[in-house]
C-alpha cells in the first residue's frame, strides 16, 4: 500500500469523525449563541439518541427508518424539556449556576441510562448495510460514505435554514439582542426552544452514526465525543455556525492523522495542544468574533 494512499485513507477517516464532531459542535455553538450558555449535557443527548435507536431496533423491532425517527423525536423532546425545566428558570442567574446545572443534567442522564440499561456495553448491529466503495486501491467503508453524505446534507440544510428563512433570521436576531428581537414580535422563548430542538436532533443523528460505527452502547458513550465537539466549537469560535463545522473537521483530521503518524496515546494531547495554541493566537477561535454584551 502506497504512502499516499495511506495518507488519503487517514484523511477520509478524519473527515468522517470530524464531520460527526461538527454535527455535535453545531449544537454547542447554536445554544451558546442564543442562550449564552455551555450546555454540558449536550454530549449525553448523543447517548440518548443512541439508546433510543437501540430501543427502536432491538426491543421494539421497528424498521430502521422508524427507529431513526424515534431517536430524532426522543432527542428533540429531551433537548426542549431540559431547556424548559433546567435552564429556563436560570436565564438571569450567574453563569456558574447555569454551568453547574448543565453538568448536573449530564450526570442525571448518564445515571438514569445506567439504571435502565446497566453498565455492560450493549452490542447493536449497524443499520448501514451498504458495503462501501473502492476507488483504485482505496476502500471506503459504507458507514464512512453514509456519514459524509448525511453530515453534509445536515450542514447545508442548517446553513440554508439559518441564512435564508424567516425563522433563521429570527434566530440570529435573538442571538444578537433578545430585547430588540422581542420588540420585533419574535417569541424569544420559542426561538430558544427551537434552537435546543435543532441542536438535539443533530446530536441524535450523531448518536445514530456513532452506533453504526462502533456497534456498541454504554451510558457514557456521549461524554468523549461531547467533549471533543465542545473543543471543536471553541476552536472554530463558539457562537459561530461555520466555525463549528470547520472546527469539527479540523479536529477530526488532526486526531486521525496524529493517531496514524505520531502516536495513538498522544493524539488527544495534540488535539488539546492545538486548541490552546489557537486560543493563544486568536482567543475568539478561528471564525469567532469578540462582541460586547448588550444590556
Amino acid at each position: 500500500m502506497g504512502i499516499l494512499q495511506n495518507i488519503l485513507e487517514q484523511f477520509i477517516n478524519g473527515l468522517r469523525s470530524g464531520s460527526i464532531y461538527a454535527l455535535i459542535a453545531l449544537g454547542y455553538t447554536m445554544v451558546y449563541g442564543i442562550a449564552k450558555m455551555i450546555n454540558f449535557a449536550h454530549g449525553d443527548i448523543i447517548m440518548v439518541g443512541a439508546y433510543a435507536l437501540y430501543v427502536g431496533l432491538s426491543i421494539l423491532h421497528l424498521p430502521a427508518i422508524l427507529a431513526i425517527l424515534l431517536s430524532l423525536v426522543v432527542c428533540t423532546i429531551f433537548g426542549v424539556v431540559i431547556e424548559r425545566v433546567a435552564y429556563k428558570p436560570l436565564r438571569s442567574a450567574p453563569p456558574l449556576a447555569v454551568l453547574i446545572t448543565a453538568i448536573g443534567v449530564s450526570f442525571l442522564l448518564q445515571s438514569v441510562s445506567l439504571l435502565i440499561f446497566g453498565a455492560t456495553p450493549i452490542p447493536q448491529e449497524s443499520i448501514v448495510k451498504f458495503a462501501g466503495i473502492k476507488i483504485g486501491g482505496l476502500s471506503i467503508s459504507g458507514i464512512t460514505v453514509v456519514t459524509l453524505i448525511v453530515t453534509t446534507i445536515c450542514m447545508i440544510s442548517l446553513t440554508w435554514f439559518i441564512q435564508k428563512t424567516k425563522m433563521g433570521s429570527a434566530m440570529r436576531a435573538v442571538a444578537e439582542d433578545k430585547g430588540a428581537a422581542e420588540l420585533m414580535g419574535i417569541d424569544v422563548n420559542k426561538t430558544i426552544s427551537l434552537t435546543f430542538a435543532i441542536g438535539s436532533a443533530l446530536a441524535s443523528i450523531a448518536g445514530i452514526l456513532y452506533v453504526c460505527q462502533y456497534q456498541s452502547l454504554k451510558p457514557t458513550l456521549g461524554a468523549m465525543p461531547g467533549i471533543k465537539a465542545f473543543v471543536a466549537a471553541v476552536l472554530g469560535g463558539i457562537g459561530s455556525v461555520p466555525g463549528a463545522m470547520l472546527g469539527g473537521i479540523i479536529l477530526g483530521l488532526i486526531e486521525s492523522l496524529s493517531k496514524a503518524y505520531i502516536s495513538t496515546e498522544l493524539s488527544d494531547a495534540i488535539v488539546f495542544g492545538i486548541l490552546v495554541l489557537v486560543l493563544l493566537i486568536k482567543p475568539s477561535g478561528l471564525l469567532g468574533k469578540i462582541r460586547k454584551e448588550k444590556v
Partner: protein, 236 residues
C-alpha cells in the same frame, strides 16, 4: 378615549424604584415628548409599555385594551412599535434583513413589499445599503434603520427613545424632520429626548419626568416658555 393610557405606573429594579406612580395619556395623532435628565426613568417607562419590563403596579391600556401583562412579543402586532435607546439594530444582519424583521408579525408578502418601498423612499440611504451588514452603518444611518425597522410593522403609534443621541447636528435635524413626517402620515408619536428644545419644538404636548415622577405637563409651546423648564432643560 386616549390611544395610550398609563395609570399609576410603578416600576422597580429589585429594591430600586425607578418609576413612582405616574399617569399620562397619548391621544391618537399627537406627538408627545417625554423629557427628563439622565436616570429620570424615561427608558424604563418605554420598556414597560412595550412589555420588556414588568411593572410593579399600575395599568397600561392601548386603544382601550389592557396590555399591562402582555409579553413584549405580542405588543407589536397590536400596532405599537418601539425604536429602542441606542438603536439596537441587528449588527450581523443585513439592512434588508433588519427591515424584514420589523415586519416579522405581518404575513401579507405584498403589503410588506409595499411598506418596504415606502420606507426606502423615506430613507434612500437604506436602499443603497440594503445588503450591507447593519453593524457597518454610521450612527445616523443606524438610527434611520432602527426607525425604518419599526415602521415596517406599520404601527399606529411609534415610541422613540432618544433618536438624536450621539448624532451630528445635521443628522439631528434630519431625524426630527423625519419624526414630523411620520406624524404627518398619521402615526402617533411618543418621543423620549434629552434634546428638549428640539423635542418640544415638534411636540404637541409634553411631560417632564424627574426621578420617577412626572413633575410638569402641558402644551409643548407653553413648556418652551416655562422658566423651570428653561433653566433645567433648555440651558437658558
Amino acid at each position: 378615549m386616549a390611544m395610550l393610557k398609563i395609570t399609576d405606573l410603578e416600576v422597580s429594579y429589585g429594591m430600586i424604584q425607578a418609576i413612582r406612580g405616574i399617569n399620562f395619556e397619548v391621544e391618537q395623532g399627537e406627538v408627545i415628548a417625554l423629557i427628563g435628565a439622565n436616570g429620570a426613568g424615561k427608558t424604563t417607562i418605554l420598556h414597560t409599555v412595550t412589555g420588556l419590563l414588568k411593572c410593579k403596579a399600575g395599568k397600561i391600556e392601548f386603544e382601550g385594551k389592557d396590555i399591562t401583562k402582555l409579553p413584549g412579543h405580542k405588543i407589536v402586532s397590536l400596532g405599537m412599535a418601539h425604536v429602542p435607546e441606542g438603536r439596537r439594530v441587528f449588527a450581523d444582519l443585513s439592512v434588508l434583513e433588519n427591515l424584514k424583521l420589523g415586519a416579522y408579525t405581518r404575513t401579507d408578502k405584498q403589503e410588506i413589499e409595499d411598506t418596504l418601498k415606502v420606507i426606502y423612499k423615506r430613507f434612500p440611504r437604506l436602499e443603497e445599503r440594503k445588503s450591507q451588514m447593519a453593524g457597518t452603518l454610521s450612527g445616523g444611518e443606524q438610527q434611520m434603520l432602527a426607525m425604518g425597522r419599526a415602521l415596517m410593522s406599520h404601527p399606529k403609534i411609534i415610541l422613540m427613545d432618544e433618536p438624536s443621541m450621539g448624532l451630528s447636528p445635521i443628522f439631528v435635524s434630519e431625524i426630527f424632520d423625519i419624526i414630523k413626517e411620520i406624524s404627518a402620515s398619521g402615526t402617533t408619536v411618543l418621543v423620549v429626548e434629552q434634546n428638549a428644545k428640539k423635542a418640544l419644538s415638534i411636540a404637541d404636548r409634553a411631560y417632564v419626568l424627574e426621578t420617577g415622577n412626572i413633575v410638569l405637563e402641558g402644551a409643548a409651546k407653553d413648556l418652551l416658555e416655562n422658566d423651570s423648564v428653561k433653566k433645567a432643560y433648555l440651558g437658558e
